[in-house]
C-alpha cells in the first residue's frame, strides 16, 4: 500500500467510535483524548435539558459526578489549548531516529504539562464536589 492509499484508507475511518479506544502502542495522551471525547459528549447530554429547564439538576451526588466530568474536560482543555493553540512544550523539530525513537511527549515539558493537568483536575474536582455536596444543600438548592 502506497502512502496515498494508506492515508485514504485511514481517512475512511473504518474503526469508527471503537478507534477512540485503541490504546495499545500509544502514549497516555491517547487515553486523555478518549476521555476528553467521552466527557464532552456527557456534558452535551447534561447541557441540553439544563437549557430548557434552567432549574434542572440531576441531584447532589450526580452533581458531584458532573463536576468530575466537567473539571476533567476543563483541565485537559487547558492542556490542549496551551499545547495545540499556543504551542507550549512542543519544542524544536527533531531528526527522526527510526525505529527506537521515543515519542517526545513521554518526557520533558509535555510530561510536566500533563502532570499539572492531573493536579488541576484534582483541585477543581475537590472544589466542585465541596460546593455540590456541602454548600449547595445549605443554600437549600
Amino acid at each position: 500500500m502506497g502512502e496515498r492509499e494508506y492515508l485514504e484508507y485511514y481517512a475512511l475511518n473504518r474503526r469508527g467510535v471503537s478507534g477512540w479506544f485503541r490504546m495499545r502502542g500509544y502514549t497516555i495522551e491517547r487515553k486523555l483524548y478518549a476521555l476528553h471525547r467521552i466527557t464532552g459528549i456527557l456534558i452535551v447530554l447534561f447541557m441540553l435539558p439544563h437549557f430548557y429547564s434552567t432549574g434542572w439538576h440531576p441531584g447532589i451526588w450526580w452533581d458531584a459526578l458532573l463536576g468530575i466530568i466537567v473539571t476533567f474536560h476543563v483541565a485537559n482543555g487547558v492542556r490542549l489549548t496551551l499545547l495545540e493553540l499556543l504551542g507550549a512544550g512542543i519544542g524544536k523539530p527533531l531528526l527522526v531516529k527510526k525505529p527506537f525513537q521515543r515519542p517526545v511527549s513521554i518526557e520533558g515539558r509535555q510530561r510536566y504539562l500533563l502532570a499539572l493537568t492531573v493536579l488541576l483536575f484534582i483541585v477543581l474536582a475537590v472544589i466542585w464536589s465541596y460546593y455540590a455536596v456541602i454548600v449547595k444543600p445549605l443554600m437549600g438548592g
Binding site: A11, L12, N13, G16, V17, R37, G40, I41, I43, V44, M47, L48, F51, Y52, S53, T54, V74, G77, V78, L80, T81, E84, L85, Y131, A132, V135, K136, L138, M139, G141
Partner: protein
C-alpha cells in the same frame, strides 16, 4: 469558513467558557459572591448571553467534528455543518428566551 478558523474559534470559545462559566457557577452556588453577581441583572444577563453563545459553539462544533470524522464524505460534511448551525441558532434563541423568562424580563 476554513476548518482552521473554526478550530481557532473552538479554542477561543473554550477560554470564554472557563471565564463566564466560573461566573455562572459562583452566581448560582456561592452565597457571598453569588449575591453580588445576581444583584446586577444586566451583568448576569450579559455574562449568560456570552456563556450560552460560547458553550453552544464549543459543544456543537465538538459534535460536528466527531460526526464528520465518523462520516468522512464532503457532501455529508456540508450537510452536518448546516444542520448543526441551524440547531445552534434555534437553541440560542430558546436559551435566551428561557433566561429572560427566568429573570422576569419577559
Amino acid at each position: 469558513m476554513r476548518e482552521s478558523t473554526k478550530m481557532l474559534l473552538h479554542y477561543i470559545a473554550g477560554v470564554l467558557i472557563v471565564v463566564t462559566g466560573l461566573i455562572h457557577l459562583l452566581a448560582n452556588n456561592d452565597p457571598g459572591i453569588g449575591k453580588l453577581i445576581t444583584g446586577n441583572v444586566y451583568l448576569y444577563l450579559t455574562n449568560m448571553a456570552i456563556f450560552l453563545a460560547a458553550l453552544l459553539y464549543h459543544a456543537l462544533n465538538g459534535v460536528r467534528v466527531i460526526l464528520i470524522e465518523l462520516v468522512p464524505d464532503m457532501c455529508w460534511t456540508k450537510l452536518i455543518g448546516w444542520a448543526i448551525l441551524l440547531i445552534g441558532i434555534a437553541t440560542y434563541i430558546v436559551g435566551i428566551q428561557v433566561l429572560l423568562m427566568a429573570l422576569g424580563l419577559v
